[in-house]
């Protein structure tokens, strides 16, 4: 290396080295390059295999798998059922999400805070646990509610059968309606009161104002929310399998699972069906994006918006009743019944002092081999997946926000893409990609790690992006010009400042990874069972009490972490409200 002491510098202190060629920023390039390579390997490569698999590779090549996938009546039925499910949940999300959002955002209803929190709770509860709870609640004969209804009305059977299409729609609907609720809530909060007051000054009555002013303003949010709910419902393998299978109703994700789970596995058909599911998702997302972008009158997150709570008089009471019954069915009843079951000797016996036990928790947390292994694996996997996803997300966000490299937008897109892909689809791609050379990790815990990172890297990327966006690049430049190398600047300036945001990113990945089911079910092996697998398998064996104990434990972990996220996001630099400036 050439070192020349600069002539004529003041005070002749350290020598200035010769300029290095631009392309060689050493560590910076290596780290960023590694991140890019890993992202391509974990997201790009499996998606490529999905296409190759649908063409019959590696055994053969041709269109017969695609043709078969689209002509077999079983697949056709699965497609129709899936569409019916999406339509049903979309409509249901509007029917309950919009009134709830109005009640909590704009009305003077009592208990609106409680309702808001409980909607959030129903959203973070893994939907397959809600499905299990609904079997306990509305199993056709032995369900607790059915028995109550029979006792009340003197019926001999039924009356409600959760094992039906409307049962699946209901159970998934009370989970996904949160999308419509939150989007509508935010939009309603962003409508400035002056817009309504202007209408009133012109003589409009209140209902006219709501119909002519509020509703059109928040319509894009409602449509967008309904579409998101519908898209999410397509992908929810857990409730589709847990309720749909006994009900003899097949959906695309359960169909894909069955084509791989029966022997010999039919990779080509599974890939072709996965592509069909991707097509549905992409179409839905494109529609949703179109709605939100072209028709968004309300600038979400705009500052200085003044909203008024409207007085509803006596109408408050039926509204309260409606809201409370929604959150009762979406959060209180399922979590409540799981808790009761977890503590009961036998779930079909009524709760009494003699029927209370901790034995199921003991079985779930200490004695049952699969369950204990599942808990340990889930903690390990979620931690590792969150760490890797945050590192990747940070790299993608850094490239996007701090460099002008060619292709960084594409990379950002690749890192966000899995957000719209059902877990089942990701799993099929990962399975095909990593079952063989060059990285045959099928059957090991690494394939689950790969799947979790690939599935949840969008959450980390968005979060890291938001976090870096808050940090003025001048803070890093000040570090460089003061003499710190790139890596030192990262360590001393960017990371400490982004830490709360990155911790939130970590938790946002950890939470869903901890209870992931739809990809895991296709990828786990003996010894790599997770909590979700333990729950799914123990449910197969009818051990509902142990399953409930495990479910209560899982909800407990997820809930505590969600509260931590909430607390972190509400405090200090991670709030996302004020950019970090010097």
């Amino acid at each position: 290396m050439q070192v020349i002491a600069p002539a004529g510098t003041a005070r002749g202190a350290p020598a200035i080295a010769a300029a290095a060629p631009t392309g060689r920023f050493g560590l910076e390039r290596i780290l960023l390059g590694l991140g890019v390579a890993l992202l391509l390997l974990l997201v790009g490569y499996p998606l490529l295999w999905l296409l190759l698999g649908a063409l019959g590779l590696p055994q053969s090549i041709g269109l017969e798998h695609l043709a078969r996938a689209f002509t077999r009546p079983q697949n056709y039925a699965a497609l129709v059922n899936t569409l019916e499910l999406a339509l049903g949940t979309g409509l249901m999300s509007v029917a309950i999400g919009v009134p709830l959002a109005w009640a909590t955002a704009r009305s003077d209803m009592p208990l609106r805070q409680l309702v808001h929190v409980l909607v959030a709770l129903s959203y973070i509860t893994p939907p397959y646990l809600t499905a299990l709870a609904y079997i306990i609640l509305f199993g056709p004969d032995a369900g607790q509610f059915n028995r109550l209804l029979r006792a009340l009305f003197g019926l001999t059977s039924g009356p409600i059968n959760v094992f039906s299409m409307s049962g699946v729609i209901f159970v998934i609907g009370i989970h996904v309606f949160a999308f419509t609720y939150f989007l509508t809530y935010t939009a309603l909060k962003a409508v400035d009161a002056s817009l309504e007051e202007s209408a009133q000054m012109l003589g409009a009555k209140r209902w006219q104002t709501v119909l002519r002013i509020n509703l059109p303003l928040v319509a894009p949010a409602i449509t967008g929310g309904a579409l998101l709910s519908a898209i999410d419902s397509l992908a929810l393998f857990g409730p589709q399998a847990i309720i749909g299978t006994p009900a003899q109703i097949v959906f695309l994700p359960t169909r894909i699972y069955a084509t791989i789970g029966s022997y010999p596995p039919r990779w080509g058909e599974a890939s072709a069906l996965s592509l069909l599911l991707v097509a549905l998702t992409v179409a839905g997302l494109a529609l949703q994006r179109g709605y939100l972008e072209q028709r968004s009158y309300v600038t979400v997150g705009g500052r200085g918006v003044r909203t008024r709570r409207l007085e509803h008089g006596l109408w408050r009471w039926p509204l309260t009743g409606f809201c409370l019954s929604v959150v009762f069915f979406s959060a209180v009843a399922p979590i409540g019944v799981l808790t009761l079951t977890a503590f009961s000797n036998s779930w079909i016996e009524p709760l009494s002092a003699s029927n209370i036990t901790l034995a199921h928790f003991q079985a779930a947390l200490f004695t049952d081999q699969v369950s204990v292994r599942g808990i340990i694996n889930s903690f390990k996997l979620a931690t590792a997946a969150a760490a890797v996803a945050v590192a990747l997300g940070a790299i993608v966000a850094y490239l996007d926000l701090r460099t002008t490299l060619w292709g960084r937008r594409l990379l950002d897109y690749l890192a966000i893409l899995p957000l719209g892909l059902p877990g089942t689809v990701m799993a099929v791609g990962i399975l095909l990609a990593f079952i063989r050379f060059p990285l045959p990790i099928y059957g090991t815990i690494w394939i689950l790690l790969a799947a979790y990172v690939a599935r949840f890297v969008p959450l980390a990327t968005r979060s890291a992006n938001a976090s870096f966006r808050q940090i003025d690049p001048a803070l890093e430049e000040a570090g460089r010009i003061t003499g710190a190398s790139w890596w030192l600047t990262m360590r001393r300036v960017l990371f400490p400042l982004a830490r709360p945001g990155l911790l939130v990113a970590f938790l946002l990945v950890f939470i869903p990874a901890f209870s992931e089911l739809s990809a895991t079910i296709l990828l786990y092996a003996g010894g790599t069972e997770t909590i979700a697998i333990a729950i799914y398998r123990l449910n197969d064996l009818g051990q509902l009490e142990v399953v409930s104990a495990l479910a209560v434990f899982t909800i407990g972990v997820v809930l505590s972490l969600a509260l931590l996220v909430n607390w972190l996001s509400g405090s200090s630099w991670a709030s996302g409200e004020t950019p970090i400036r010097g």
């Binding site: 056709p140 003899q248 069955a258 029966s262 022997y263 079952i435 063989r436 990790i441 099928y442 064996l541």
Partner: protein
Amino acid sequence: MPIARRSMIKGVVASCAVTLLRRQAKAQAAGPEDAAQIDLEKAKAEGKVVLYTSLDTQIVDAINAPFTQKYGIAVQYFRGGSSDVTSKVLAEADAGRPQADVVDASDLAALLLMKERKLLKPFKSAAAAAVASNLRDPDSTWITDRLTQAVIQYNSKELGSAPPKTWADLGKAALNGRLVYFSSANGDGAPRIYTLAKHLGWDVVKAMAATKPLRVQTPQIITQVLERGERIAGFLQNDNIAWRSKRQGKPTDYLFPAEGVPTEIGACGLLASSPRPHAAALYHEWWMGPEGQALLVKGGKYSSRTDVAPPEGSTPLSELKLLMLDYAEYKRDKTKILDQIADIFGGEWGN
């Protein structure tokens, strides 16, 4: 300096590769061919054994515990339906990453498929002498470990006086909306349904389907559903579960219809790619041996060994008319059969 380092790395990689290849070769070459060749020390040195099974976890745990205690070899197992077990073995073979040493499934067709794909290793078990020759592979790649009979199970409070006595009774209108049966989404319930159809005609099956029976994903749940009174009669494919429920004093009973009972042959074998061949063979012999089989029987299963008694209080197999499935035929026509059953019952059968 960099050159030296590079060549060193090359050296390390090469020696690792050689070691790996050698280990692979050793693993496949070595390993006992019959029970007499089992080397206890080598088995212990292998440390553990991995079992893929479709047997109920409670029975598996009961069989494993004394084995581990006796030999100090841990048993790690994956338990799923027969299809889960089989598709996992096949997928791992495709991946070139064999995990399992011993496989057991209650669907002989699955083992036949594995044999056809050369995944099973011939091994002359000491148990062969005690198992009828039509219940084991002439090439010694698999051997039947258990026979499981389908039964009619019912809630004894509801149907105690007049239970359905024949398979045809299950299709009567009296059971509309009160019948329960099982199949996983992968079609695990299909072989027994097909056996019934093959011997007694498809009409019996169609009549059952016409009662709009509740489908559950495992046989264990059939019994639970009956115990709770959610349904009153069930086409249960595993007599051991009915046996256990009754013995536990639950309000259920069961019977073997006189028309004959579909019998399911559960078989086990050693995997050719087994990473731990000695421990695998040792475990296989324990599993098939009189002690292991006695534990199986204690869990309510009928052993394939002629020298092991039937479960306590059960009808001896000799008094039952067993309906057998031609597994070679089933394996060949599987897709067609599944399509047919899916047409009759609806839902997902993995076809």
